[in-house]
Amino acid sequence: MIGNETGLSKKDTEQLLATMTAILRENLMAGKTIQIQGIGTLEVKERKERVIVHPKTGNRTVSPSKKQIAFKPVANMKDHLKKI
């Protein structure tokens, strides 16, 4: 479908897609925030370590800090999709 719009061959499109995701991934790995125009931003957020309590046993453990990819849609897009 992308190919139809841009006039690229199927193989080219696939390659482009693959490289794009690869780039995005690498940048995310490096801890960068990625702006995708018209859609939103992909961001690596660090979740801090915290004490969690096992609800049944009451054991206290520390969940280690971790990194998560967070997505934040552009305001425009958000409103747009809200109404669907």
């Binding site: 702006q35 206290r60 453990t61």
Partner: protein, 372 residues
Amino acid sequence: MAEKLSWTELRRALASRAGVSEKSAGAFLNSFNAQLIEALKTEKQVKVNGLGTFKLQAVAARKSVNVKTGEEITIPGYNKIVFASEAGVKELVESNGEGRRANGERLEANGEGMENDPLKKLGVQAAEIVDILGELGQSPNAEANGERLEAKGEEPVVEPEPVVEPEPVVEIEPVVEIEPVVEPVKEEPQPEEPKKKKKHHFWRDTLICVVCLLIVLVIAFFFFRSEISSWIKSFVEENKTEIVVPAEEQETPVTVTEEATETPEIEQEPEVVIEPQVEPETAVEPDLSRYKGWIKTEEITEGSRLAWIAKKYYGHQRYWPYLYDANKDHLDNPNKIAIGTPIRVPKLTKAQKDTTTVEFLELKRIAEEAIK
């Protein structure tokens, strides 16, 4: 983290890496975005292979309260976009870029389970992507890129680590046992927290316990006050009677001895002394005239006692001497009554219910003597 990859940067990187002109790369990206939004609208879920899934999630309408006015308002339902990163990618982000090889391997693993993908193109071509990635890995440009990334990747790692110095403190503290999952590097800020909390909890718990106990005691006191006071009363009475009994007993011998000293006839005196002993024996024939009628005849059952019957019919166990008195004819020891023995329960007048009367005390004395 402040670093941003802007749209133009992405376009440039894509163009250089895929060997396409920047213009076509831009066109591709724009078209990709459009596709993504369209797919989100129609399919509600878009999986971008090797990255993650965009989902359109419906949020149901809910009720809320206007904080200022207190009015109830309904927040209408809406849709929101949620992004969930792929499992492999998550790990990669965690590890902060360990290398391209692992990257490629993970991709392969990802590519296998992609059948539900709305953008099926991506799933089918997973193998190709791997190939491409492999090629990219070989090209010098990409390698340099990867190295750069690695270098960048290491920097943020270093930042959290320098805090390691206070580690010895951690080792001393025994609380570490609780968190076996945690690597020692990450521990420094935590061990104190749970400890404090634990201490805090311990004190709070004990406090709560003590307070609860006090409350229970106070409630119990108010609730059973009447019972307690009556108990105390009965105890006092028992003591009184016990005191009274010896007093009476003492009197008679005293008089006897006095008589003995006064009258030289010793032979007559034993008779006098015997008489009071005989009296209770003759009294074994119950003097039923004092009772105005009978409530019932109760049979002694297993576990039953005179005191219990007294409580049942008179409201308090302290009236048991009346029962003994009324059934003296066939009762020997009020504490040892054979099962099945019929017990006549006499009616008691108001005056008889007064446990301070001489009549009652006398009955009680007799009954208690029978126990001995």
